[in-house]
Amino acid sequence: MGGVSLRGICKRFGDALVLDNVSLEIGAGEFVVVLGPSGCGKSTLLRVIAGLETIDAGEIEIGGERIDHLPPGKRGVAMVFQSYALYPHMTVRENMAFGLDNIGVSRTETARRISDAARMLEMEQLLDRRPAALSGGQRQRVAIGRAIVKEPRLFMFDEPLSNLDAALRVRTRQEIASLHRRIGTAMIFVTHDQTEAMTLADRIVVMNQRRIEQVGTPLEIYRNPATAFVASFVGAPAMNMLPVTAVPGGGAFQRVALADGAMVDTAVPAASRKGALQLGLRPEAVRLCAAGAGDMDATVAFVEFLGDKTHVFLSLAGGDRIVAVAGATAPVREGETVGVRFDGGDAHLFDADGRNLRIMA
């Protein structure tokens, strides 16, 4: 079971470039989640690996073998579609056996694999039903089962949880994670849901506008976003982004001034920065205190009580809006003035091109 190697993948649909020089290395047995907004090219990336789309440039290898010239069925990959794509006129058993029949697997071996997969996915009682007689969650299991029996070198999931309700989505997410631990095959999982990405991935690949923005572990992506896009896309609520200017006086670290003149000392090494910068602060790095006791005062615009925590949306004096995460019983009311203290040590600075200066330093 080798890893997957993508080198310089380009894909066009007519004049539209949908994948722009994408390169990625996936280790054997690694669970990689491709995360990005709609239209960023993440599903196309999956489809070119599967062979459902041709590539205009680049190379794809699985286990050291170049596969980009092979038809989909010869690539040794299995895919779980967003719509599941179960054959509606076949029973669950026939759905699972179809791919094995096509490659000449013996009946005994086919029966063994189906039986093993059905036991693993707890769907033995469903084998003689047709997809129309299954619930959404059961169809999802069958789609996964159909992929498992092929014993592929690479599993691919194209937003497989998006058709499930919230409770089933959480449960299926856990099952997919557990499945990956049991079978240990490399998996690529495409989603636009950051919770799925953060909970499932060994590494997350964040895509935006046809390119890979950043590759890293969930914690790296969250703590050290390479670009302003990654910073604002990953995390809920999104990272606060405030326009600032670099000012001297922070010693070895960069001091910045907000629009209303308030200063924030960051942990970003100082350098000769010019031009507009953006200060990035996770909501948990914004602390509330009594009015007049913080770095600045702000007006509480909106409060969301979530049970375990509270999202407090604030209007700053300069007109900027930020959000802070407070405790479950934060004593704030809409319209109230509160003090705000920034945890500069957790702050990020992004240059005009959106690059994170903390990582570049």
């Binding site: 038809p71 990959v77 006129h89």
Partner: protein, 310 residues
Amino acid sequence: MEALDIPALAHEADAVPPRGWSAAASEARAGLLFVAPYLIVFGVLLVYPLLSGIWLSLHKADLFGGARFIGVENYARLFRDDIFRQAVWNTCTFVVLTVPALTVAGLVLALALNRASRWSAILRGLFFSSSVLSVTIVTLVWRMVLIPDGGLIANLLALAHLPPVPFLSDTRFALPAVALTTVWWCIGLPMMLFLAALQQVPKDLYEAAALDNAGWWRTLWRITLPSIRRTALVVVVIEVILQFQLFGQAQIMTLGGPNNASLPIVLFIYQIGFQRWDIGYAAAASEILFCIILVAAMAQFFASRGREGT
């Protein structure tokens, strides 16, 4: 009854007055009013003629004269009538010649033209265009193709120094010639129905099949055909019903000849009713045709439903 123990529900149930017979009748009357326009058309144009035809078939009736009740004598005459039996045989043969050909050719054309290219669109239009022609035009065109004296096929045979074949005046070829003309004329509808069905098959089923290493032939047999089986049934039933009613082509191309070799049931009915004016006898033949079509169409339907159920 657990629900009745809940005070709120019990209270709500008390609040709703019991629905009386008059309320139900009033609702039924309103419903009847909605379907009345269609029921009237259905009754006047379909049910009444059907019942009237059955009643007429039990009479010795002249087109311009009175009628005398003779029970099932017309039916008994039909079963003894060699020409009618020949017409039934011809019609069934014609259906066997045309329906499978129309179904298979329609499917093959639909499979070949189910793509988004300019040429496919042009060819789809071209193949469907024959369907909009009148039977007179179609049969005239095909007469020019089939006649031994200067016809297209005769000219082609002449180029190969072969004698012309009298397709329309040879008992062996007359009915197949009418069948060939009919397939050419009617191919548009099955093709379009199959095209519509093929475009309904989700694209991701084909993608899943490609990942399952299914080749073209296996994808056709295991994915495409099962996905459009309902349309195939519709095509077969429609074509069975249509082709059992063969009339115009036989009337114009062969007049049912030679020696009744291409005489279909409808032409027999026409000749008996409107040339010999024996409309009671013609009505009896019509009822037999109705029963044959009904049985053939229902047999297709139930056979297909039985297969789906397994």
